[in-house]
Symmetry: C2
Subunit: 220 residues, 2 copies
């Protein structure tokens, strides 16, 4: 019984995700689902990314959080639509929540939609939101063992972003351990090192975003 219900939930979610994707395709929006542990720097990454992309590219953000609107407030600015989704006790965003969020955005005015998922390395992995690209973010203080320990997050990612590289000298973190573990589960996604605090690596990150925008999202 339990398994059947979960299967139904996933099937229903996938149907809504497909509808979300079609809606965004029609509007010419490229959507990215940003997944990571709590405190990896998703919001700071998005602040700086939007700074770099605007005004040439128009951005919008959907922010998932259990409670509070703090991240949405941090991202709020005149030239960017930001919608907050509070999940209560929910441990990940669902396609239905994103569909509701999309109703609050003017999609015809959006080039990039960033969906900031709930900080969680496990549950968001199983739920398609209708995004075109999935970003798996890992920060240096979390340690170099996380790819091996949370493969369900890193295996389906289209890009692996290692944040807080300004702390590599301060902490024990062996990037080769990350690339070794990735070589076993995901050889397709590029790895981009950056610091959302200092801005290091953001040129490479912006280039990747622009390239994928030109290609219209996922190659599959």
């Amino acid at each position: 019984m339990k398994i059947k219900v979960i299967e139904n939930v996933l099937r229903d979610n996938d149907a809504v995700a497909r509808a979300n994707r079609e809606l965004m395709n029609a509007a010419g929006v490229l959507a990215l689902n940003i997944t990571s542990a709590p405190g990896s720097g998703k919001t700071t990454l998005l602040q700086r990314t939007i700074d770099q992309l605007q005004p040439q590219r128009r951005c919008a953000v959907l922010v998932g959080d259990l409670q509070t609107t703090r991240d949405a407030e941090r991202l709020s600015r005149d030239d960017t639509d930001v919608a907050q989704i509070n999940t209560g006790r929910g441990c990940h965003l669902s396609a239905a929540q994103v569909a509701q969020g999309l109703e609050n955005l003017r999609l015809d005015r959006v080039d990039f939609l960033f969906i900031e998922n709930v900080g969680n390395m496990v549950c968001p992995a199983g739920f398609d939101l209708g995004e075109h690209l999935r970003v798996a973010l890992l920060s240096v203080p979390e340690g170099d063992d996380k790819v091996a320990k949370y493969p369900t997050l890193f295996q389906p990612a289209d890009v692996i972003v290692v944040n807080k590289i300004d702390l590599i000298g301060v902490l024990d973190f062996d990037l080769r351990r990350v690339t070794d573990d990735l070589s076993r589960i995901n050889t397709r996604a590029p790895l981009i090192q950056l610091s959302a605090r200092t801005g290091a690596g953001f040129d490479t990150w912006q280039e990747w975003l622009e390239e994928r925008k030109e290609q219209g999202g996922r190659v599959s």
Copy 2:
């Protein structure tokens, strides 16, 4: 239907948790459920804690992870029983998994049982494992906004441990923001600052553990 199944799951879990607690009470074991985000330093905290407590106090560990036995290997030592629980895609430990783990431990030889939950700030909060005390761990690099954003983790905690305080000078982290947020949701749990890397704060942490061991666990 979905809600009913979840209620059944929680009710079944609570029954097994009670049985676990009775088993440990009978053996004189004090059990602590350690919850945090991935990379907060649960394993390093336990390594140093066990170093300090042994051999006067006998310790054992149950380690939950999606995959790999890396944490169990890090904790492995001759004088401590360590059992690994792999949850696959499971985002938290359940009481039934802990019950299985307990079968691999010689409880009559254990004073402290540390249960290292899956790195996840959301899902472990809802599941009683049969522990006597719940530890919510927060690390400085995660940011000072996590108590407000993940209240379900911090509200039921019996102690709040702030780890990696050696990074407070390096990063923007305002401890007053943490204590302010805690004052709204949990005024009962003490806050202990420490660094599992340098050992700072471990005397206070050990004192707290010994006090709670004398008192036999949760005061309620």
